[in-house]
Amino acid sequence: MTIEQLTTAPTGAGVTEGGAVQRCDVEDLLYLEAQLLDDWRLDEWVQLYTDDAQYIIPANDLPDPAPDRDLVLVNDNKFRLLARVDRLKSRKAHREYPHASTRHQVSNVRILDQSGEEIAVSAYFTVWRFRNGRDDHYVGRYDYRLRRTDGNLRICYKRAVMDMTVLRPTGAVSIIL
């Protein structure tokens, strides 16, 4: 199944050019993203992102940073996002080889604004990570901006804002949130 089929299959109707996007369309995309990440199908996952996409994880103590001025944990453009995918697939990302079992749970999905070219979405996440007998969790809020491309929704911006005040005890963010 191609990404296009995966993206459009669940709702059948897909996203029509110019028509209003429904919450269920957004949910389908976010749930698909969660599944691709949990299945470690990272090549397919990264196709959900536009070429100018940005993926950000702020530092725990600065949830709303200016990434061109402040310290953040992750600030990937598509180039670095692809490097991250290559790394995670390489068997040399030592904290993720063998891969952790993860479960990305997405809820509280809301379309905040779709008056412009991009659709602003907010959602809550709980990401569970299990490996070597230990379990970690990441809890927080996603800020997305989505764009219609060729009848499909694509992600042009994703920010995962963690609720935990520190990154202890997880130690690192070695997976994609």
Binding site: I57, P58, A59, N60, D61, L62, P65, P67, D68, R69, D70, L71, V72, L73, V74, N75, R80, A83, R84, D86, R87, S90, K92, A93, H94, R95, E96, T165, V166, L167, R168, P169, T170, G171, A172, V173, S174
Partner: protein
């Protein structure tokens, strides 16, 4: 039962033998002893002056697991470190991460203190007898606080030597860093607060270990290559002991440096200004020192638990054991107050892609250290080998830096008390 602390290290330079008994990294008794003999005796990094620039600014911070308030006096502008515990009944008085104010008020019984720690208000003061003296009931300062060129340290030992004496040969390296920028340096907003299930001394070793860079961080090296940085030559340089346990790994690398080594990663636009920066360094410090400042990367270790990496970005990282097999790590990003946008962009990019716990390298280090700690549990091997480079002029990929740490550690932990592992 392992050997006594005096026998935890085998150090035989003639034969090129340097071994650490693994109980130094696993024993709860040694962890307990380190609190008294290392962390209560040394100068420990508290923070950077730029974090509290204005009178009344404060930051809540824990040093060696002791809750402290790092504050600039609203009255005098002096920097202070106060124990964050109410002298009355113990509650932590400052309960926000940072801010600005004139008074800290304990929420428990509403005693209030000014930013010098003096007790300035007690509800129903008349309830206390003649022995109660306001001036004796202030927030307690730490035994000593001193700053060296913006880096603020505290010690809990009233008999400690001065900070300048303590820093010993590490001072020159702090000077090299601080002198790079005429605009001064500041800690950027946002910090990394993570933890590692490993003994804290493993992070000392890892932070000044050039040998692991190529194999452990293979994917990061590939990432650099994909950006056109030729890393095939590896890290050419040396490791040095700097006295008092401090050490440095200094090396040339193929990447550019925001001050002031232009490479094409900065773009042609930035080139003239970066060349001007270089000329300015030559003007101020002479050609030789300017070249060292601009060309050489430095991983500086200040005993017992401070790392200042001056690579493409400057990291300030400190870590504290909470058990023999667990540590808490805090890291900040230090950057010049004024610089080219291209240089700042490279710093930020470098920090998060290499040095941060969400990057393309640090998770590998966390995994490596936890893997070592797990391996120790096997018990099948008693000693770690730290002898690399012992019989030659030590290179950056050798282990002289680590031996500097361990020799000082042995001096501190061994003679005063017999610790049985």
């Amino acid at each position: 039962m392992g050997p006594a602390a005096t026998q935890l290290i085998v150090d035989d330079p003639d034969r090129g033998v340097f071994r650490i008994h693994r109980s130094a990294l696993t024993s709860p008794q040694i962890f307990e002893a380190e609190r008294d003999l290392v962390f209560d005796r040394c100068w420990l990094y508290l923070g950077h002056e730029s974090e509290i620039p204005a009178p009344g600014d404060f930051v809540r911070r824990s040093v060696a697991r002791r809750p402290l308030i790092f504050v600039r006096s609203a009255k005098t502008g002096q920097i202070r470190a106060l124990h964050n515990t109410c002298p009355h009944r113990g509650a932590t008085v400052c309960r926000t991460d940072s801010g600005n104010g004139k008074v800290f008020q304990c929420f428990y019984h509403a005693w209030s203190f000014n930013t010098d720690g003096e007790l300035v208000g007690v509800p129903d003061r008349q309830g206390y007898g003649p022995a109660f003296r306001m001036e004796e009931m202030g927030l307690r300062p730490v035994a000593a606080i001193e700053s060296y060129r913006g880096f603020v340290f505290v010690t809990f030992d009233p008999n400690a030597e001065s900070l300048v004496d303590y820093l010993s040969g590490a001072r020159d390296y702090l000077d090299l860093l601080v002198d790079e920028s005429e605009s001064g340096w500041e800690i950027l907003k946002g910090s990394n607060q993570y933890s590692i299930d490993a003994n804290w001394k493993l992070l000392v070793e890892n932070s000044i270990d050039g040998y692991h860079a190529a194999p452990t961080h293979d994917t990061y090296m590939k990432y650099l290559s994909s950006m056109g940085i030729d890393v095939a030559g590896g890290l050419a340089g040396r490791g040095r002991a700097l006295g008092h346990g401090h050490a440095v790994m200094e090396y040339k690398a193929p990447w550019g440096r925001p001050i002031a080594k232009w490479e094409k990663q900065f773009g042609e636009d930035a080139r003239p200004e970066m060349e001007n920066m270089r000329s300015r360094l030559v003007e101020l410090y002479g050609a030789q020192r300017a070249e060292v400042m601009a060309e050489i990367n430095r991983n500086l270790f200040i005993y017992p638990n401070l790392i200042i990496n001056d690579i493409q970005a400057v990291t300030v990282r400190t870590f504290t054991p909470t058990a023999a097999d667990h540590m808490e790590v805090s890291a900040w990003h230090l950057a010049p107050k004024a610089e080219l946008p291209q240089a700042r962009a490279l710093r930020l990019e470098s920090f998060l892609s290499f040095l941060g716990p969400g990057g393309l390298a640090t998770p590998d280090d966390v995994e490596a250290l936890e893997s070592c700690q797990d391996g120790f549990r096997s018990g099948g091997v008693e000693w770690n080998d730290i002898s690399r480079g012992m019989t030659r002029e030590p290179k950056a990929t050798d282990e002289e830096q680590m031996r500097s740490f361990w020799r000082r550690w042995r001096q501190q932990v061994s003679p005063q008390r017999e610790v049985v592992a």
